[in-house]
């Protein structure tokens, strides 16, 4: 059964899209990731134009982050003040990102840039995850205990001015690195169609030394608003959010995520993380191959003029 995607302007098999959404949703539920960094490359492999894949990916992340954020809000593991400061940076970053996005699109370099960013990001994250899970597996085998990092150690980030007190997180921290982190994530959201949690969470824990219990909830809070804002801006400037594609992905994704969560709670962590790492690496390598391989046709044609 095919369905026509009005913005992507092509007919796709509805079951492939639903399957993609469910599979990524399942993985995101299992590993507690947003899934944007998997859904966008998958859509690109399925011949969805990268412009549409990125904007629609951002929209999909709104849905996949919301239920998680609600849970954290109920439990009280969400620092509103910290989230708001992050959000200020995030909105600015998303605005700048959409501007860069439109500029690259006019230059005809957008597809290349998106692929390059994904190759760098996925191979880095995949390699780090693989390394970490292999180490964990080795530790499990040797049955040694993990030396905990001491959160009391301070680095240069904690000497910056404009300090603010975040009561819920019980920290006293400069607003500059928080806004800067939000900004960077906002740029990634609008150019890559990801929530950015997989970068934000480690950055908050290891660089900003924010207590782990509020990190996930607070990052989800920021992600919802930045991805929602990015969806709006992409819709208004590039007309590239495909509502049909997004709805299919979201519905399949949130259902898949629920089952992913259940399975994830039962299974052993290290092997699964190693598998996810291999999957992420494979997607990155597939994108890299696409960049290097000689294309079928070196020419392409598009309606519209170049801007001078």
């Amino acid at each position: 059964m095919t369905v026509y995607l009005p913005i992507a302007e092509l007919s796709v098999n509805i079951f492939i899209i639903l399957g993609m959404g469910a599979a990524v949703g399942f993985l995101s539920g299992m590993f507690g990731v947003g899934g944007g960094f998997l859904i966008t490359p998958l859509l690109i492999f399925y011949n969805i134009p990268p412009v549409v894949a990125v904007a629609t990916g951002a929209n999909q992340v709104v849905a996949s982050s919301i239920s998680g954020a609600i849970t954290h809000f109920r439990r009280g593991t969400l620092d509103m003040k910290l989230g708001t400061v992050l959000l200020v940076g995030g909105l600015a970053g998303a605005t700048a990102g959409v501007w860069v996005f439109s500029w690259l699109r006019r230059l005809g370099q957008l597809d290349l840039f998106i692929s390059l960013l994904y190759v760098v990001l996925l191979s880095t994250i995949g390699a780090l995850m693989l390394q970490e899970s292999l180490r964990a597996m080795r530790r499990a085998k040797n049955a040694t205990t993990v030396p905990l990092r001491r959160p009391g150690q301070h680095n240069w980030i904690h000497r910056l001015p404009l300090k603010m007190r975040f009561k819920k997180s019980k920290i006293y921290l400069s607003a500059i690195p928080v806004v800067a982190l939000g900004f960077a994530i906002g740029v990634l959201t609008s150019i890559m169609g990801v929530g950015g949690g997989f970068i934000m969470v480690p950055a908050m824990i290891y660089l900003l030394r924010i207590p782990t219990n509020v990190v996930v909830g607070t990052s989800l809070f920021q992600i919802i608003f930045v991805t929602a804002y990015t969806t709006m801006v992409q819709a208004a400037t590039n007309y590239s959010v495909d509502i049909v594609l997004a709805t299919l992905l979201m519905v399949a994704g949130v259902i898949g995520a629920q089952y992913g969560v259940r399975v994830g709670q039962k299974l052993r962590g290290e092997q699964l993380r190693a598998l996810l790492a291999l999957l992420v690496l494979a997607v990155g390598i597939r994108l890299a191959v696409g960049l290097v391989m000689t294309p079928d046709d070196v020419y392409s044609v598009a309606v519209g003029g170049l801007s001078y």
């Binding site: 709104v62 982050s65 919301i66 819709a235």
Partner: protein, 268 residues
């Protein structure tokens, strides 16, 4: 009166041709030029979302043709369907540090987005008619492709023009059917034009050309509106006309889906 009735009887099938032809016969019966009339059953085509392409049939009639020349096939009819015009940009990829990236681009001014051409005979040697086709701008090879802005050199233009035609033929937006026009009687013809699945909407133009011994002697045109219908088109329109509201709805769907799932699957 008899002189008038006889040609009328022949022409009655091509209702469009009637007034003009009758008039010209009345005024100058001997030195009249050959004429051409066309008609279609519709001036508007509605395309639904499950559209997989279709054939458009155009009927036409030749008037005042010379019987002898007609018998030996000296008349050629070419019918084209031109899509709305827009700027078209062709980009070329090159390997830069091992990676393929767009390095060169050329924009052609106001070229039809789609173009279908049908003709009466197998133009095995298109060069026969090249000069005239070129003058008339008839045929995929003869569409004027004028680059905008800075042009590096003529070799590059030729290269990009060829690439443009090849890509357009490959994705079906440009089509040619060298036997698409058939005579159903000595003066009546039927032309079929292929509408591709990805036909752009907007004002299209059907043009019919009559060639006598390779010389363009008459042409007629008729507008054809292609309108896309259905829910998908309403969505596209909404995305372009009301982008803010459209974006809001997208976000709202996401919120409802995410929130709905967390309510439905809540364990407590």
């Amino acid at each position: 009166m008899r002189r008038l009735i006889a040609p009328l009887a022949v022409l009655i099938v091509a209702a469009l041709a009637l007034p003009a032809a009758a008039q010209s016969i009345l005024t100058q019966p001997t030195t009249v030029k050959e004429g051409l009339e066309i008609g279609a059953s519709t001036s508007e085509i509605a395309i639904t979302s499950d559209f997989r392409g279709a054939d458009l049939t155009i009927f036409g009639a030749l008037t005042n043709t010379d019987e002898l020349l007609l018998a030996i096939g000296q008349y050629d009819v070419v019918v084209t369907l031109e899509g709305p015009r827009d700027y078209q940009t062709v980009r070329k990829k090159e390997r830069v540090f091992g990676i393929w990236m767009n390095t060169q681009a050329m924009t052609f001014e106001q070229v039809p987005e789609s173009y279908a051409i049908s003709s009466t005979r197998q133009l095995d040697n298109p060069d026969d008619l090249t000069g005239n086709f070129d003058d008339a701008g008839v045929g995929i090879e003869h569409l004027p492709l004028n680059p905008v802005g800075y042009i590096p050199n003529s070799g590059t233009i030729v290269e990009f023009r060829e690439a443009y035609r090849r890509l357009k033929l490959a994705n079906g937006l440009y089509q040619r059917d060298r036997t698409g026009v058939r005579f159903v009687s000595s003066s009546l013809f039927r032309a079929s034009l292929r509408l591709p699945a990805n036909i752009p909407d907007g004002m299209h133009m059907v043009r019919a050309y009559l060639f006598k011994s390779g010389e363009l002697i008459s042409q007629k045109e008729m507008p054809l509106r292609v309108v896309k219908t259905g829910i998908e088109q309403s969505i596209t329109d909404a995305a372009h006309d009301e982008p803010i509201a459209y974006g809001l709805i997208c976000v709202l769907i996401a919120v409802v889906t995410g929130w709905g799932a967390s309510v439905m699957f809540r364990k407590d």
